[in-house]
């Protein structure tokens, strides 16, 4: 009765063994299915393709013909968005805020998850439920008190306050998933290390933690996507110098709204890093998404 879904990041469905003969009726169904799948793939990809294509077109042709291909690719759009419209700053802010938050959130969660999964102590179940409840909390609704809290701490306006909020927001999910992973580890390893005289912290750091590396990568990536895309907290909590990409984008639309080609390149710049991450780590992302199903 062990949950395979949680226990292993390998969740891409295994291909079913091919059946020997397919009746005609099933073949027709297969064609219809293929049509549906490939048709929808076009629907899923076309807007993204359009975004890239339009970011390379010149303004005049874009205005007169909403659909079309670039005659000569206008890379200048990217140069302008990057330097003139402060996308370089937004980009840096996004990277710093996201990476730091993910690292902090994952680190503290790994510690807590280990305690919850491997030790018995009074209040264990209660604490686990306390963390778990965070998955259901609409944390955006706390924005006004968060604002005054950060102000009192002198963290309002900058990146540090945002990092704390983000790191904290990832804790429930990380603790939940990592606890499940830690529970799956066999006791024997731990016992062996203990007999060898290793301290509890050493067992955690050198024996158990490396074993859940895939899970760590999964929760880290999952947080990365969520935080990279968040727009609500920076909208309220930071000043322009600390704007991340999504909120920088709202400002950009205000200032450069009459130059559409530029807008498209801004959208592409905001999106590219995640696509790169995706292409390098599809497996982890798929696992991260599906791990969420245990919520």
């Amino acid at each position: 009765m062990t949950s395979q879904v949680i226990a292993e990041p390998r969740v891409t469905p295994r291909p079913a063994p091919r059946r020997a003969r397919t009746p005609l009726k099933q073949r027709a169904g297969g064609v219809a299915a293929a049509l549906l799948l490939w048709g929808y793939a076009a629907v899923a990809l076309a807007p993204l393709l359009l975004m890239v294509v339009n970011s390379l077109r010149d303004e005049a042709s874009l205005r007169s013909q909403p659909l079309g291909l670039p005659t000569t690719p206008q890379l200048g759009n990217y140069v302008r968005a990057w330097s003139e419209a402060s996308f370089s700053t937004y980009f840096l802010n996004s990277v710093v805020v996201t990476v730091t938050s993910v690292a902090l959130g994952t680190a503290v969660s790994a510690l807590a998850a280990y305690a919850l999964a491997r030790y018995r102590f009074p209040g264990n179940g209660l604490l686990a439920a306390f963390f778990l409840s965070g998955l259901m909390l609409p944390i955006r609704l706390g924005i006004v008190p968060v604002f005054y809290l950060l102000d009192a701490m002198g963290l309002l306006g900058g990146r540090t306050g945002l990092i704390f909020i983000y790191a904290a927001s990832g804790v429930p999910f990380c603790v939940f998933v990592l606890t499940a992973f830690f529970r799956q580890l066999p006791d024997e390893l731990e016992e062996a290390a203990r007999i060898d005289g290793a301290s509890e912290l050493r067992i955690f750091g050198q024996v158990m933690l490396p074993l859940v590396r895939p899970a760590l990568a999964t929760v880290a990536l999952f947080q990365f996507i969520t935080l990279w895309n968040d727009f609500f907290f920076p909208l309220v909590l930071v000043e322009d110098a600390a704007y991340t990409l999504p909120v920088g984008l709202t400002r950009f639309f205000q200032e450069y709204g009459l130059t559409q080609s530029l807008l498209y390149s801004g959208l592409v710049i905001t999106t590219i890093p995640l696509v790169v991450v995706f292409l390098f780590a599809t497996k982890q992302i798929v696992a991260g998404l599906t791990a969420g199903m245990s919520r």
């Binding site: 005054y148 102000d151 009192a152 002198g154 963290l155 309002l156 306006g157 900058g158 709202t250 709204g257």
Partner: protein, 439 residues
């Protein structure tokens, strides 16, 4: 953060005891950081006061830097830093900035009328009565910076926005169209442009505030101008008044000349229709000239005031206008004296002229005229036949704002989901959620 090392006042409602001790630690850290940071004044931070000015006019940064250079030359020991934020998020940012116990602005641009009331009641702004002399300024201009409850003045208005119908001179000339002086002329021009495949008027009903302004431009003379609004405030009339609902109908009747699916047109696209020469007219304010010129520097723009619609209660066209904002002093600023000195200067013709020339906007300082001929003409019109934009002046003090209630109702009319009478009833109901007429 930590821009200033001066002693700071703490809010009374800071979060908790824990955060108080954290705050102390935070302040210590900030102090340490700023002490390490290189000082532009060669370490003699004591002699120089740096004033931070916040604004929603990102497009004005370069101009303001020049203006404040002039001020700094005359006021040695004072350094003015101008910071601009995104227009639509500015209310949020300023609310946060003024609430902050430190690191907020010393002087801030304040949105007119309603939005400043929360700051005033929260004690976030310094009253300017007896400190800055605004005698001789038009009443409806100063009203933009007054406390609704205490009647005190909290800001020095800086800009006046006038509302007109902008038009593309080249398109008018190409189609042999004269500036319309009667309602029939206007409709004839619209029909002619439409036949030629040109959108007669670019606007949008997706953003309620745009329709609110459009109503003021075309409907003010039909409803009887500010007199009507004052009657509503006094409890002698309300928005179900037949002349008012007829003025809503005036706008709805222009629908054939608006872009197709006008309720779906994003504001940016309404602007783009005009700036790219796809539309001939654009009902809007002087503030639109900047973006239009930026999109196409060659655009030849003229303006006229809407002719009298049939049944108008007034006998000649008007130029609606309103104070677009004011400069106020953050009550938590540790540099009260210097900040007051700066806003005092902002009420002088010297600042007014610099403002008009550098920023190409209409200064609120009486007697100042911009160099730009188009703007000069606009303010001249306002001074001769001006009319306060009543939704902003009287009905901007609660949620929903009067202009938004009006804009939404007109959008429903344009969609054919409401007639003028129902729209008036709806507006009356929406605004009554917070508005009570004077006894």
């Amino acid at each position: 953060m930590g821009r200033r090392t001066a002693p700071r006042t703490l809010t009374r409602n800071s979060a908790s005891q824990i955060s108080r001790s954290l705050l102390a630690a935070g302040c210590a850290a900030t102090l340490a950081l700023t002490a390490c940071a290189p000082s532009t004044e060669g370490g003699s931070a004591g002699d120089t006061t740096k004033l931070t000015v916040w604004s929603w006019r990102t497009e004005d940064i370069a101009g303001y830097n020049k203006i404040f250079d002039v001020y700094e030359k005359k006021h040695p020991g004072v350094q003015v830093e101008f910071k601009a934020y995104k227009n639509t998020e500015y209310p949020t940012i300023l609310q946060t900035g003024l609430a902050k116990s430190s690191g907020g602005p010393d002087v801030a641009q304040l949105k007119p009328f309603g939005p400043i009331q929360a700051f005033i009641e929260g004690g976030n702004l310094t009253a300017l009565d007896g400190k800055v002399d605004l005698a001789g300024w038009p009443e409806e201009v100063v009203a933009a910076a007054k406390g609704k409850k205490d009647g005190k003045t909290y800001g020095v208005p800086f800009a006046i926005q006038t509302l007109h119908v902008l038009y593309n001179k080249k398109i008018f000339a190409d189609n042999g169209i004269q500036v319309p002086t009667t309602w029939e002329d206007l409709k004839a021009a619209g029909d002619k442009l439409k036949k030629a495949g040109i959108t007669p008027m670019a606007t949008t009903a997706k953003e309620p505030w745009v329709m609110g302004l459009t109503h003021e431009i075309f409907g003010a003379t039909r409803m009887g101008g500010d007199k009507f609004a004052q009657d509503v405030v006094a409890g002698k009339n309300d928005f179900t008044d037949p002349d008012y609902t007829a003025s809503l109908q005036t706008v709805a009747d222009l629908k054939p000349y608006f872009p197709e699916d006008v309720t779906a047109v994003p504001y940016l696209d309404a602007q783009a229709l005009f700036s790219s020469g796809k539309a001939a007219m654009y009902p809007g304010g002087a503030y639109e000239l900047g973006p239009f010129k930026k999109a196409d520097p060659g655009l030849d723009i003229g303006f006229f005031d809407a002719p009298l619609p049939p049944g108008a209660k007034m006998d000649k066209p008007v130029t609606p206008g309103f104070a677009d904002g004011s400069y106020g002093v953050n009550a938590k600023s540790p540099n009260q004296k210097e900040a007051l000195e700066l806003v005092k200067w902002m009420a002088t013709p010297e600042f007014g002229q610099l403002f008009a020339d550098e920023l190409k906007q209409i200064s609120a300082v009486p007697g100042v005229s911009p160099k730009d001929p188009l703007l000069a003409e606009m303010i001249a019109k306002y001074r001769s036949q001006g009319e306060p934009y009543s939704m902003a002046v009287h009905f901007g003090y609660g949620e929903p704002l009067g202009r938004d209630a009006e804009g939404e109702a007109i959008a429903s009319m344009l969609l054919g989901k409401m007639d003028a009478k129902a729209a008036g009833t709806k507006i009356q109901k929406d605004i009554s959620a917070w508005f009570k007429p004077e006894e």
